[in-house]
């Protein structure tokens, strides 16, 4: 086919082509995850490869690209940081929302479209900050393009005080001191576990304003390496119980070993009983 794009013409394409003929020792992924500053950075990179204005990217396509990336990373047993996996779970959730036709309006939190718009906004904002950073650093910098008096004669001082010290001096002196004095502890090698607070944070964040029953864990576990699943399940379950107790979420299970459904507690009311006064 004449229109066929040569493999590798778009560098990102290599990523998705896992030719079976690839030598076993050849790295399957051309993307070095270490080169990315987190999942949002990776998403931005993928979005750019769509070669359209960020305002017009297809979030669905983007989510699919990302999930594909995570899948292929897992296939070559590339260890991905939890951040990437959480994003994968969230995108899988988003994808399912985007694919399911919108239900009755207004009763179940943000629609898939709204969530997609939020993601697009964040990508745009990150890109804008990147550009701003470049513009700042390319300004005429003191000591590189513009120079101060090389042989100053007198350093003016602040009014009133004879001594000078910055807050930074003060804080680093304090931090150093305290750290010096802190008893050195024997460190035991960390076991790879998801702590309760990891799980708690994760659940809270993923659930967000989602008010309909969702088996969120399903999305998450799918993207966790098998070795992490037990610890993640345990922690997530324990954390969800804690969140239920605090009234932050509600939980439902049809029967033993059935999926656990979660949703935001109290439909936006604060966890504690609130006395509603009339003003």
């Amino acid at each position: 086919m004449a229109m066929n794009i040569a493999p590798g013409a778009i560098p990102m394409d290599k990523l998705w082509q896992e030719g079976p003929e690839r030598a076993a020792d050849e790295p399957a992924l051309m993307i070095d995850v270490g080169g990315f500053e987190g999942p949002l950075d990776l998403l931005l990179h993928l979005a750019r490869s769509q070669k359209v204005d960020l305002a017009r990217i297809s979030v669905l396509a983007l989510a699919e690209q990302y999930l594909l990336f995570v899948d292929s990373a897992r296939r070559v047993r590339l260890e991905l940081a939890a951040d990437y996996l959480v994003m994968a779970a969230w995108l899988a959730f988003l994808k399912s929302k985007l694919l399911i036709p919108q239900q009755a309006k207004g009763d179940d939190g943000p629609s898939g479209e709204e969530m997609a718009a939020a993601l697009a906004f964040r990508l745009k904002r990150l890109e804008a900050m990147r550009e701003a950073a470049t513009r700042i650093i390319n300004r005429n910098r003191l000591g590189r393009d513009v120079f101060a008096r090389g042989a100053p004669e007198h350093i003016p001082h602040r009014v009133r005080s004879v001594y000078d010290a910055s807050l930074y001096d003060l804080l680093s002196a304090y931090a150093n001191l305290r750290q010096r004095q802190a008893v050195t502890q024997v460190t035991i090698e960390r076991r790879k576990v998801w702590s309760l607070s990891d799980a708690r944070e994760l659940l809270t964040r993923m659930l967000g304003e989602v008010t309909d029953w969702t088996a969120l864990q399903r999305y998450l576990l799918e993207y966790l390496p098998p070795a992490d699943r037990v610890t993640a399940t345990a922690s997530a379950f324990a954390a969800s119980l804690e969140l239920v107790r605090e009234g932050k979420i509600e939980i439902r299970q049809e029967g033993a070993f059935q999926p656990i459904y979660l949703r935001n507690g109290q439909q936006g009311l604060p966890a504690r009983e609130t006395v509603v006064d009339t003003f």
Binding site: E37, G38, L40, D41, A81, A82, D83, M87, A89, W90, G109, E114, M115, A117, A118, R122, K124, R125, M129, E131, A132, A133, I136, I137, R139, N140, R141, L142, G143, R144, V146, A148, R149, P152, E153, H154, I155, P156, S166, L167, Y168, R190, R191, K192, V193, W194, S195, L196, D198, E201, L202, M206, G208, E209, V210, R229, T233, A234, S235, A238
Partner: protein, 237 residues
């Protein structure tokens, strides 16, 4: 052989009466004070050393326009004044042992976010970047003297807010924060307006697999206690 003639009559005694004090003389003194210093000099500092009643902003404006076309310019940054070599001459002056700090990409990004979004909390920076700020990135920026703790946000937890310093403006040749490149467009595009609408939620960073220092890992024991693992239970695949 010093060309600076010592004019005794310039050292007027009655510096208290402003009208007897010529603008030219005020300019000489202001010029000398700023010129002598490597650091920018505040108008307060000048006011302390100039006779009462001297219109310092006027003196500085006049000096600044006088120097505008010269090899050395009088620049204002964060309401402080400094002489700096003209930017177009950098090609001659540029030194080989240029000691300008190299910033990592992460540090640069964090610096930009702090500059454009200040006062900004660490959590907000992470929200924008979608990744935890590694330890030391902020330290680099603070040590450079470009970023400082500003205060605390009056929200639960009272998180510390960050902002830039006058040295940041000086280093990047900005007169004030409003001169940040593209600030207005970014604002207009709603990209600086703090938070994403509250019903939008995207997972935030913070899930780094490293345990926080103030938490302990869940142990096998804990899991057994919670009834999540049968004692000695096998791992399921």
């Amino acid at each position: 052989m010093t060309p600076s003639e010592h004019n005794p009559d310039e050292q007027t005694e009655d510096t208290s009466s402003p009208q007897s004090f010529s603008l030219a003389e005020a300019e000489r003194i202001a010029e000398a004070l700023v010129f002598a210093s490597a650091e920018p000099v505040s108008e307060d500092f000048l006011a302390e050393r100039l006779p009462l009643g001297v219109d310092i902003p006027a003196v500085m404006e006049s000096l600044s326009s006088f120097y505008a076309s010269r090899g050395v310019n009088l620049i204002r940054s964060a309401d402080r004044w400094a002489f700096r070599t003209a930017a177009d001459l950098s090609f001659v002056i540029r030194k080989d042992d240029n000691d300008v700090r190299k910033l990592s990409r992460a540090a640069l990004e964090v610096l930009a976010i702090i500059a454009y979004h200040q006062p900004v909390t660490r959590a907000e920076i992470e929200d924008i970047r979608g990744v935890q700020t590694s330890r030391g990135t902020l330290d680099v920026l603070m040590e450079a003297g470009w970023v400082r703790f500003r205060g605390r946000r009056r929200t639960p937890g009272r998180p510390v807010t960050l902002g830039t310093t006058p040295d940041f403006l000086d280093h990047f040749g900005l007169e004030e924060l409003r001169d940040l490149p593209g600030l207005d467009e970014l604002k207009g595009a709603g990209l600086l307006s703090g938070r994403i609408p509250p019903n939008f939620q995207v997972p935030l960073p913070g899930m780094g697999d490293e345990l926080q220092d103030d938490e302990d890992p869940i142990t096998q024991m804990d899991l057994e206690e919670l009834g999540l693992l049968t004692p000695g239970g096998e791992e399921e695949e």
